[in-house]
């Protein structure tokens, strides 16, 4: 690896001060499973790694039934999928975090890092969008909040300015009769990058009618793709086989994938239909449980 510098600030203010001074040559280090590899392969121009794991806000993991879930940007995957209340209230997040890399990766890699790496195939981002998550960002001019669906702007790029960092991700409190699910297709069982991923959520009223649904996709556009029309098509209806198939068809027609070594555009579109339908059925089972 090229020579780099390392800092381990204890506060958001100290971290922002470094970012402000060093600009794009400074990068927040969370789990390191993307960043260290990218710098090691000269794929990212970084002079100083700013370790975020000593900043309390970035390591916070807290759940409140009224306020929802706060996920510090550097909290590793294992802390998420082993958390009893996340298992109970946010199973879609368990789906995503338990398939990112292998056990060793999950011991370090964070959802905040997955988001900031802003890969189109990131497994956690569709799930965050499906849950209606927002992110808390801080920079030299103070804090702001951004919905996850507006965070990524291009492959590897996002809305963070050079002096800003991601503090945490907030997932709304779970509604009664709600469920979510993330499914991905890869040619093997584990340890691969999504050919397509689908993250969905669904909420029912007491009569079993859909009151809200969200669908987001991985690896079918330059950024994770929110498809509001697909979820909206279910609202006000009973979640029948036909209604779910119709929502999946909308997702399929909205996806705009490319052909590459992982799959053709045609195959990916087909997969969007299949995965969206299956994920909606699984989310529905969870909503009814």
């Amino acid at each position: 690896m090229r020579a780099i510098q390392y800092a381990a600030p204890r506060s958001l203010g100290d971290a922002v001060a470094i970012l402000q001074e060093r600009g794009n040559k400074a990068r927040i280090l969370a789990g390191g499973t993307d960043l260290i590899v990218q710098v090691g392969e000269d794929a990212r121009d970084v002079d100083v790694m700013v370790d975020g794991k000593h900043i309390p806000e970035l390591m916070e993991l807290s759940f409140d039934p009224e306020k929802g879930l706060t996920l510090g940007a550097a909290v590793p995957c294992y802390r998420i999928y082993e958390h009893p209340e996340i298992k109970k209230h946010y199973p879609g997040l368990v789906d995503s975090t338990s398939i990112i890399g292998g056990t060793g990766i999950q011991g370090r890699a964070s959802v905040g890092g997955n988001l900031c790496n802003s890969g189109p195939a990131a497994d956690s981002i569709p799930t965050l969008i499906a849950y209606g998550a927002t992110v808390r960002i801080v920079g030299a001019n103070g804090e702001r909040t951004v919905p996850v669906e507006n965070f990524c702007t291009a492959p590897g790029r996002n809305v963070l300015a050079a002096d800003e960092l991601l503090i945490s991700i907030h997932l709304p409190a779970p509604s009664a009769h709600s469920g979510a699910c993330y499914l991905r297709f890869i040619p093997r069982n584990e340890m691969d990058i999504a050919v397509v991923g689908a993250g969905v959520s669904i909420t029912l009223d007491d009569n079993g009618i859909v009151t809200a649904a969200r669908v987001a996709l991985a690896a079918v556009a330059p950024t994770p793709l929110f498809v509001p029309e697909a979820g909206d098509s279910l609202v006000g209806k009973a979640p029948t086989e036909e209604a779910i198939a119709a929502a999946a068809e909308i997702a399929k027609n909205t996806a705009r994938p490319i052909s590459d070594m992982r799959g053709t555009a045609e195959h990916r579109k087909h997969l969007v239909g299949v995965l969206t339908r299956r994920a909606l059925h699984r989310a529905l089972e969870r909503a009814r449980a």
């Binding site: 780099i4 510098q5 100290d14 280090l29 499973t33 990766i105």
Partner: protein, 164 residues
């Protein structure tokens, strides 16, 4: 600025295989490089250097990690177990003995990672199912054995432990 930004070598103190150690590493060094080149713990292998193969697995503060994806400076004040901390040439742990008896290795490059990863699993879950073992070890690649012999060694170890 209040925060120190390290450029040159940093003194790192950590507990490695139960022994307190202090050494110097540059910020650019991975934990894998520090273990091998600064501390002589060459059991830790460099396979892919990008987090895919698990040959460099150690347990750090109770969790399995790929040391190629950790900077040495991040190991400050941590507790680390490498394959050298499992057994000795004269005193193999049952898992190591069973890897030998069941031919769970050929070239041996992946073996330290498999041993450390499996030990971490069995410490957490002493009686895992075949599926649980295979999922846990998904990040450990072996190009020699076809995995079944590794599974046999692990299952034999579990059987010996659970019938004792």
């Amino acid at each position: 600025m209040a925060v120190q930004i390290a450029s040159g070598k940093v003194a790192i103190s950590a507990t490695i295989n139960g022994e307190p150690q202090t050494w110097l590493s540059e910020p650019r060094e991975t934990l894998l490089e520090a273990l091998r080149d600064r501390l002589g713990l060459t059991g830790c292998k460099e396979g892919c250097s990008n987090g895919n193969c698990g040959a460099c697995n150690v347990v750090m503060d109770g969790r399995l990690v790929n040391t190629c994806c950790v900077l040495a400076v991040e190991a400050q004040e941590s507790e680390i177990t490498t394959v050298e901390g499992l057994g000795t040439p004269d005193g193999l742990i049952p898992l190591q003995k069973n890897f030998l008896e069941e031919a769970g290795l050929q070239c041996g490059v992946c073996t330290p990672g498999f041993l450390v990863a499996t030990k971490a699993l069995l410490d957490k879950n002493p009686n895992p199912t075949d599926d649980e073992i295979r999922w846990w070890l998904a990040g450990n690649l072996c190009r020699c054995t076809g995995y079944d012999k590794i599974l046999n060694a692990i299952k034999k170890t579990i059987a010996e432990t659970t019938t004792e």
